[in-house]
């Protein structure tokens, strides 16, 4: 965790060039003093017996458990299973969401056919489908991947559809006066113009995919981070549960960083991104 914290703080240090060296360092210190203090208090309360380890494990214990789970391979195995489920679900969601958005974004007929059902379905909380999915798909991998796919396809569809529909009509007019074919217009004008919205959708989708996975793995599973946590509940192992929580947190953070990186790489034409990179 601390590595990430220091990295996000580095622009502050760079901006402080020319000022006394201790100023940015002090800024980092005060910025993170509060969380560090909270962790220290937490540890102190556990060590002093003020907090029962049956309710919450101490930070030291969490780190130790995390290390032990890594050494015997439990953590990696479950992590890989969870990653595979999230990856498969997101992959399906991406293909389905982009496909449907293209159909409904690029043709009136497509919009009539696709958009209304999508707008109705998106109001359903996807998690409410868990019982139905178990009936349909049993308790294997399918319902878990399907749940992730279902939940995360909506933000991709909705954002890309909006992006395609909100292309500046002046640019489309310009494409017509230049004699661009429909295919060329889609490739050179519509898709690149909708890309920022697609990436926003992808970012939401990644967040939702973890949410779906947490629920799917806690309802019925024999592997995965969620299963590891549910298993630990039976044995009152709050340390393992907290390790699982930390892993989910790190996964969310890492996937968000990946999408951010994609944004920087793909949208380098936007002034904000250039400013961020040259800073």
């Amino acid at each position: 965790m601390s590595g990430t914290l220091i990295r996000t703080a580095s622009p502050v240090a760079e901006r402080g060039r020319g000022r006394p060296v201790w100023r940015p360092a002090l800024g980092v210190l005060t910025r993170y003093a509060s969380p560090v203090l909270l962790v220290l208090l937490w540890q102190a309360a556990c060590s002093a017996g003020l907090l029962s380890t049956r309710l919450v494990a101490s930070p030291v214990q969490i780190v130790a458990t995390g290390w032990a789970l890594t050494r015997d391979g439990t953590l990696q195995t479950n992590l890989l299973v969870s990653l595979a489920r999230a990856g498969a679900g997101l992959g399906i969601a991406f293909v389905a969401g982009v496909g449907l958005a293209l159909v409904s974004g690029l043709s009136r007929l497509g919009e009539d056919i696709v958009d209304a059902p999508m707008q109705i379905l998106r109001t359903l909380p996807a998690l409410a489908l868990v019982p139905l999915f178990i009936l349909w798909f049993g308790i294997g991998e399918t319902p878990k991947v399907a749940l992730v796919a279902l939940g995360s396809s909506f933000p991709i569809y909705l954002n890309l559809h909006k992006g395609i529909r909100s292309i500046d009509p002046k640019l489309l007019e310009m494409a017509r006066t230049l004699g661009l074919s429909r295919a060329r217009t889609i490739r050179d004008v519509i898709l690149p113009g909708a890309l920022p919205d697609l990436l926003v959708g992808l970012r939401f989708a990644v967040g939702i995919s973890w949410l779906m996975l947490v629920v799917a793995e806690q309802v019925n599973a024999d592997s995965g981070i969620g299963h590891m946590m549910m298993d630990a509940e039976d044995f009152l192992r709050t340390d393992i549960i907290l390790v699982g929580l930390a892993i989910y947190g790190l996964l969310g953070l890492a996937s968000d960083q990946i999408v951010r990186f994609l944004e920087t790489a793909l949208l380098s034409w936007r002034p904000s991104h250039r400013a961020a990179r040259s800073a």
Partner: protein, 241 residues
């Protein structure tokens, strides 16, 4: 009809009896006749709502011809008030957008050089100033070697100094390329500096058709300039006291 025929012979652009209305409203263009000779520079003036933008959009193929007829060359280009460059393509890629063939980049670079943007070939459009963006839009129009170039208030959003430079640039480019030009503008001086003929549109009809028989480069101080300015302002309903 007979009066129109000799004028339209050999013309690059011919508009005959063009009528356009939106819904049940009054006609935006009302049985309009206009001919532009090859290589002729025509300025189109008129108040907002006089129909000049509709005429240009029809000539550009953006609006349909519902009544009347329009003949124009196959190769046309349009420069709008906004540059309308694709922000996700570099300047040179915008210039040759939709163009096929080898060495597209070289072609873009040479036309950018011609409009004074040789140093911004690889720039992103959002980093260009307003004047630079309009130069790029001009380059994109010229690279297609149009027989008929339409300019829709191309300098209206620029500051006064940049506008003067751009007017000179358009004048130079037209002298070199000799395509027919239709310039839609609000600016009487701009029309007098650039055009062979000024056409004033009012309620969808041509109110004034004024040849500008001055040699180039033209000067504001020229008494003929002053006189024509008065005539044009008069026909636009502005009295120059």
């Amino acid at each position: 009809m007979n009066a129109v025929a000799p004028l339209t012979q050999g013309a690059a652009v011919v508009v005959q009896g063009l009528t356009r209305r939106f819904g049940d409203g009054p006609a935006v263009l009302d049985r309009l006749d206009l001919a532009i000779a090859p290589g002729e520079f025509v300025a189109l003036l008129g108040h907002s709502g006089s129909g000049k933008s509709t005429l240009l959009r029809t000539l550009a193929g953006l609006d349909p011809v519902t009544e009347g007829s329009v003949t124009r060359p196959r190769d046309v280009s349009v420069v709008f008030q906004e540059s309308r460059l694709l922000p996700w393509k570099r300047v040179w890629q915008n210039i040759v957008l939709g163009q096929d063939g080898a060495n597209r980049r070289d072609r873009a670079a040479s036309v950018l050089e011609e409009v004074g943007l040789g140093h911004r070939v690889d720039a992103w459009p959002l980093t260009l100033s307003g004047g630079e963006a309009q130069r790029a839009a001009l380059a994109r129009a010229l690279v297609r070697e149009p027989a008929f170039l339409m300019l829709d208030e191309p300098f209206a959003a620029l500051d006064a100094l940049t506008r003067l430079k751009m007017q000179r640039l358009v004048s130079d480019l037209w002298t070199r390329h000799r395509c027919s030009v239709l310039l839609v503008t609000h600016d009487v001086d701009e029309a007098l500096l650039l055009a062979d003929r000024a056409v004033v549109l009012e309620r969808g009809r041509i109110r004034t058709n004024l040849p500008i028989p001055m040699e180039r480069p033209r000067r504001h101080a020229d008494p003929r300039f002053e006189h024509l300015r008065g005539v044009l302002l008069e026909s636009l309903g502005v009295h120059d006291d």
